[in-house]
Amino acid sequence: MDARITLRVDGEERSPTVDTRTTLLDALRDRLGVMSPKKGCDHGQCGACTVLVGGRRVLGCLALAVAHDGAEVVTARGLGALPDGGDGNSGGGLNGNSRNGDGDGERQGPSDDGLHPVQRAFLDHDGLQCGYCTPGQVCSAVGMLAEAAAGHPSHVTDDLTRTGPAVLDDTEIRERMSGNLCRCGAYVNILAAVREQAAVREQAAPARGEAIP
């Protein structure tokens, strides 16, 4: 069965006609020619297809396109154009406190090269080898930083009752990024890139944990 849907993809409105069986990943790649999200496993097990929907990181391979009629989708290709330039609060779907970083973090705000600060950090830290997992990794990292800024805990968060932005040490970053596998094993440098970006954001908005009463 065919359905005509409308998606906003990387800021641009697109209205493909898709079979109801088409995943969001296949719609992006095969129907709309947006090739940055990758198909690794096609079963939710690797994270290569990660995109942001409504600002939240999701897997394109387990999402049906027809179920995302009207959605705002950002792929790695469109990250650099995010209006916030990656202050970690691009997550429109997260109730993060809005703040205006005054830019003393070195990579606050859109950069001249059109890359999102998280993408720039992956380059600076060699956070990739073949690059196949990278579009998913950077989308996941952007979504993850927004979740942390909104105070979401993780499996390794000791004290669940602390609210406020999560403090991201290496253990936290590894756990929160565990949904993105890298066949090349570039994890050490991916970690370094995300660690840098977590620090930039923390400087702009220091974690102010308060106990839930």
Binding site: M1, A3, D19, T20, R21, T23, D42, H43, G44, G47, T50, R56, R57, V58, L59, L62, A63, L64, V66, A67, S140, G143, M144, E147, A150, G151, H152, P153, S154, H155, V156, T157, D158, D159, L160, T161, T163, T171, R174, E175, R176, M177, S178, G179, N180, I212
Partner: protein
């Protein structure tokens, strides 16, 4: 994949009517299990009724102090909710121990309860499986049994239920609100999932067309002293080999209230009533915890590949109770960073 129609119902009653009125119809929520199964050919509905946009996405306190969790609340939002973190830490911990950040942003409360087993033969349509094709046989028996059940299994199916969330909900005495063609009914979560018996194709007692609209958690002192511990083959992004959810209330040196559920050991989240009975009214000691675990696991019938689960479940249960008893004493907190998570 078999072609299917897709609709977005206007409200829950509309969703129930749409699925109830068509034998081949199914609810679609986050899609993280169902879309996978469509691709694998494990299931082939001819109509998907998308409930993910229904206004069932609220978490609210009821007048009786219970917490009502809407069926379409995403797993990530549920885990992060302040009331859940404070009053039902086992639930936050269980959700955060499951899947990945991306999957938790998609997965819903309702869909999580109805996710199907990860038995490799169930997912492989080239092999016999009584759960997928009733009467075709069980490939796990005599095959790969590392993931299989040690409690309550049958000669027809030895699969385990994969949900972390449901194990925590069971220990927290959750109930499930169902909307059907004839109206609403509320079921204790303990009565939702089934043992396989000779009808393993039925995971739950829910009838075709019945929609979960909410899950309710009673406000209990013990729930605040609850936690969840999951043991798996890698540190993150893997299903449980064994897991334990427990809530413990100790007063004046005796166990006043205790609730325990085990995951990864049975066809359904397993309430450890024998262990609870062995603990209630006794002093919370290491020896007592071990006796309680033994009382529960006396009924275990491991297979060749999963015999390790019996001592693993025993040790995990003892460790969780030790942590909770220590925390109740004002002693060591549960430390989410230690091994075996």
């Amino acid at each position: 994949m078999i072609p299917f129609d897709y609709v977005r119902p206007a409200d829950p009653a509309d969703a129930v009517a749409a699925v109830g009125g068509r034998p081949g119809a199914a609810f679609l929520a986050g899609g993280t299990n169902l879309v996978d199964h469509l691709k694998l050919g494990v299931t082939g509905p001819d109509l998907l009724v998308d409930v993910s946009g229904l206004p069932l996405d609220r978490i609210e306190e009821t007048p009786t102090g219970a917490l009502r969790i809407g069926a379409t609340v995403r797993n990530s939002d549920l885990a992060a909710h302040p009331l859940v973190r404070h009053r039902y830490p086992a639930l936050s911990r269980a959700l955060l121990a499951g899947a990945s950040g991306q999957l938790r942003n998609m997965a819903t409360t309702g869909g999580n309860l109805f996710q199907r087993t990860r038995c490799p033969y169930f997912q492989d349509t080239s092999t016999p499986c009584n759960k997928r094709v009733p009467g075709s046989g069980c490939s796990a028996l005599g095959g790969h049994t590392r993931d299989a059940a040690i409690l309550g299994a049958s000669a027809h199916c030895v699969a385990t239920h994969p949900s972390d969330m449901a194990v925590a909900l069971l220990a927290l005495d959750a109930s499930v609100v169902l909307l059907g063609p004839d109206g609403e009914r509320t079921l204790p979560l303990a009565a939702l999932h089934r043992l396989p018996g000779d009808t393993p194709h039925r995971d739950t007692v829910v009838e075709h067309g019945e929609l979960v609209t909410a899950v309710e958690l009673p406000d209990r002192a013990s729930a605040r002293h609850s936690t969840y511990r999951k043991v798996r083959d890698r540190r993150s992004y893997a299903f449980a080999l064994v897991s334990v959810a427990a809530a413990l209330d100790v007063a004046d040196g005796t166990v006043r209230d205790v609730r325990i559920a085990l995951g990864g050991v049975a066809h359904k989240p397993w309430r450890a009533e024998r262990a609870e009975a062995a603990l209630r009214g006794t002093a919370p000691t290491e020896a007592g915890f071990a006796r309680a675990a033994d009382a529960e696991l006396a009924a275990a019938r491991p297979l060749e590949g999963n015999a390790f689960k019996v001592p693993l479940a025993r040790r995990t249960l003892v460790a969780v109770l030790r942590d909770l008893a220590g925390a109740a004493d004002g002693g060591t907190r549960h430390d989410g960073r230690e091994g075996g998570r």
